[in-house]
Amino acid sequence: MFLAPTPYLALLASIIIMLVITFFVILRRSDA
C-alpha cells in the first residue's frame, strides 16, 4: 500500500525516533 513518498515516511520515522530518544533521556534524569 502506498502511504506517502519515501522522504516523507523517513521524516515521520525520524521525528518519532528523535522524540523517543529525547523523552527517554529526560525521564531517566533525576533532578539535581
Binding site: M1, F2, L3, A4, P5, P7, Y8, A10, L11, L12, S14, I15, M18, L19, I21, T22, F23, V25, I26, R29, S30, D31, A32
Partner: protein
C-alpha cells in the same frame, strides 16, 4: 459579526489575564521571579513564542515554491533542534540561577566577566530584533485586515494596542500564560489545515496528485541548498534565541524545565509537520491555475486554503491562530529587546540606577519599541521568510556559540566571547552581500564565529576558575 465576537472574546481573555498577572517588581516583570511551576505552560509558550506569523503564513506557503526539500528539512531540523534545546535546558536554567541572571546578555556577561560583551550583544539584539518585529507587525496587520475587513493601518493599530496592554501590565508572566493559550489555538489551527487538505485530497491518494518536480528532493524553483540553509538558520533559533531562553529562566525548579522538555518538542513536531506540509499538499487539492497567483505571493496561500476548504466560521479560527502566532512572538521579543536596552545597556552606563526605575523604563521603552516598529511596518518588503531567516539567525548564532561553550567548556574567555560575537556578526553580514547565495550566511556565521571564539579563547590567559560556576554533574 461572528469574527468580531470571536476577537472581542479573545481580547477579553488577554486583558483579564494581564490584570490578574500584573507585576510590580523588575524580577517579576522579566523572569516571573523564577516561580513558574507548570511545565506545560513553559513548553507550549516556548513553542508559540518561537513560531511567528512568518512560520504560519510564510512557512506554510513556502512549500509551494520550494517543494519537498523545504518540507522535509524544515520539519526535520525543527524537531531535531527542539529536542537538543530541551536536553540542554536544565543546564541553562541552572546556570541562569547560579549567576542570578535576568537577561541573556547578563548571563553571558557573568559567565565571561565581560561587560563590554554584554553591551555588544545587547546592541546586536536591539537592531536585529527590531527588523524582525517590523516583519511580524506587517503580517499581523494583514491578518486583522482579513479577519475584520478593516484597513491595513487600522489592523496595525489593533495589533499595537493589544500587545502593548499585556506587555506593559503583565510582563513575562502575562506573556507566558497568554502565549500558552495562543499556542493551543495555533496547534488547533495547524492540525485543522493539515486534516482539511488531506481530507479534500482523498487521504493518502493526495500524494499521487502532486507533480513529480514538487516531490523531488533536488528542488524545483528554489534549489535544495537554499531550502536547507533557510531551514537551518530559522530553526537554530530554537537553541539560542533570548526570547525563548528567558522562558526557561522563569521556571521554579529544574524538574519543571525537565518536563517542559516533553511538551515542547511534541508541540513543535506537530506544528512544524502540519504547517510546513501545507505548501506541497495544496498541489493535491487545487489546480495549477488556482495556485498560480500564490507562486508570486506564497504568504497568502494559508488564508486561501482556510477560506476554500473549511466551513464558514472556521476560517476565522485559522486567522486567529495566525494572529496568535504573531502576537506571542512579538510580546516575547519586545520584552528581551527592551531589557537589552534598559537592563543591559542603561544599567551598564549608569550602574547606580534603581530596579524600580529600570522597571518603569522597561514598561515605557517597550511600548515605544512596539509603536516605532509598527510605524516602520507601514512600508516593508513583500516576502517575509528571507528577512526573518537572516535577523533571527544572526541573534541565534551570536548567542549559541558563547552559550554552548560557556556551559560545556571552562576554557572560554571574555576575549573569545567578544571576538566570537564580532566575527559572527561581520561574517554573516559580509556573506549575505558578497558570498555564494547557495550557502546560507548563518551557516558561515556558525563556522567563522566558532573558530574565532576558540582561537581567541585559547590565545588568551585561562579565566579564573573561581569565577566560573560549574553547572555540570548532578545527572551522571
Amino acid at each position: 459579526m461572528l469574527n468580531q465576537i470571536l476577537l472581542v472574546a479573545y481580547v477579553a481573555v488577554i486583558v483579564v489575564l494581564s490584570i490578574k498577572l500584573r507585576q510590580g517588581t523588575f524580577a517579576g516583570f522579566v523572569i516571573s521571579d523564577r516561580n513558574v511551576m507548570y511545565p506545560a505552560v513553559i513548553g507550549i509558550a516556548f513553542t508559540a513564542a518561537y513560531f511567528s506569523a512568518a512560520s504560519f503564513l510564510g512557512g506554510g506557503g513556502y512549500g509551494l515554491i520550494a517543494g519537498f526539500p523545504w518540507v522535509i528539512w524544515a520539519t526535520f531540523m525543527h524537531v531535531g533542534f527542539a529536542c537538543l534545546a530541551w536536553l540542554m535546558a536544565p543546564k541553562i536554567w541552572e546556570m541562569a540561577k547560579s549567576y542570578d541572571a535576568k537577561t541573556v546578555p547578563q548571563l553571558l556577561e557573568r559567565r565571561y566577566g565581560s561587560p563590554s560583551g554584554r553591551v555588544l550583544l545587547a546592541m546586536i539584539m536591539l537592531v536585529m530584533y527590531t527588523v524582525y518585529l517590523i516583519a511580524i507587525f506587517k503580517g499581523c496587520a494583514h491578518l486583522f485586515e482579513g479577519l475584520l475587513g478593516i484597513t491595513y493601518i487600522q489592523g496595525l493599530l489593533i495589533a499595537v494596542a493589544i500587545v502593548a496592554i499585556y506587555y506593559a501590565i503583565g510582563g513575562l508572566p502575562a506573556i507566558l500564560w497568554i502565549s500558552f493559550i495562543q499556542g493551543i489555538i495555533m496547534l488547533g489551527g495547524a492540525v485543522l489545515l493539515y486534516v482539511a487538505l488531506l481530507y479534500n485530497g482523498g487521504g493518502a491518494e493526495i500524494w499521487a496528485k502532486i507533480p513529480a518536480n514538487i516531490i523531488s528532493m533536488s528542488g524545483d524553483i528554489v534549489p535544495w541548498q537554499t531550502s536547507v540553509g533557510s531551514a537551518f538558520s530559522i530553526s537554530l533559533g530554537l537553541l539560542a534565541l533570548p526570547d525563548l531562553l528567558i522562558m526557561i529562566f522563569s521556571a521554579k525548579d529544574s524538574r519543571v524545565v525537565r518536563f517542559a522538555g516533553i511538551y515542547s518538542p511534541i508541540a513543535i513536531g506537530i506544528y512544524a509537520l502540519c504547517i510546513f506540509s501545507i505548501g506541497i499538499l495544496a498541489y493535491g487539492v487545487f489546480t495549477a491555475e488556482e495556485l498560480a497567483p500564490f507562486i508570486k505571493n506564497p504568504d497568502s496561500l494559508v488564508p486561501f486554503v482556510a477560506t476554500s476548504l473549511l466551513p464558514p466560521g472556521f476560517d476565522a479560527i485559522i486567522l486567529l491562530a495566525a494572529i496568535s502566532a504573531a502576537m506571542s512572538t512579538i510580546s516575547a521579543i519586545v520584552l528581551v529587546t527592551t531589557t537589552s536596552l534598559t537592563a543591559d545597556t542603561l544599567k551598564f552606563l549608569r550602574p547606580e540606577i534603581s530596579d524600580d526605575r529600570v522597571l518603569l523604563l522597561t514598561r515605557i521603552v517597550g511600548v515605544l519599541i512596539i509603536v516605532v516598529s509598527a510605524l516602520m511596518a507601514r512600508n516593508v518588503p513583500e516576502l517575509i521568510v528571507p528577512i526573518v531567516s537572516l535577523s533571527m539567525g544572526v541573534i541565534a548564532c551570536c548567542v549559541f556559540i558563547p552559550l554552548i561553550f560557556g556551559i560545556y567548556w571552562d576554557r572560554g574567555t571574555s576575549t573569545g566571547f567578544v571576538t566570537g560575537l564580532v566575527a559572527t556578526f561581520v561574517s554573516i553580514v559580509a556573506w549575505n552581500f558578497y558570498g555564494n547565495p547557495l550557502i546560507h550566511p548563518v551557516m558561515v556565521g556558525v563556522v567563522v564565529g566558532t573558530v574565532a571564539y576558540l582561537a581567541a579563547s585559547l590565545a588568551t590567559k585561562p579565566p579564573d576558575s573561581s569565577q566560573i560556576i560549574s553547572v555540570r554533574g548532578g545527572e551522571e
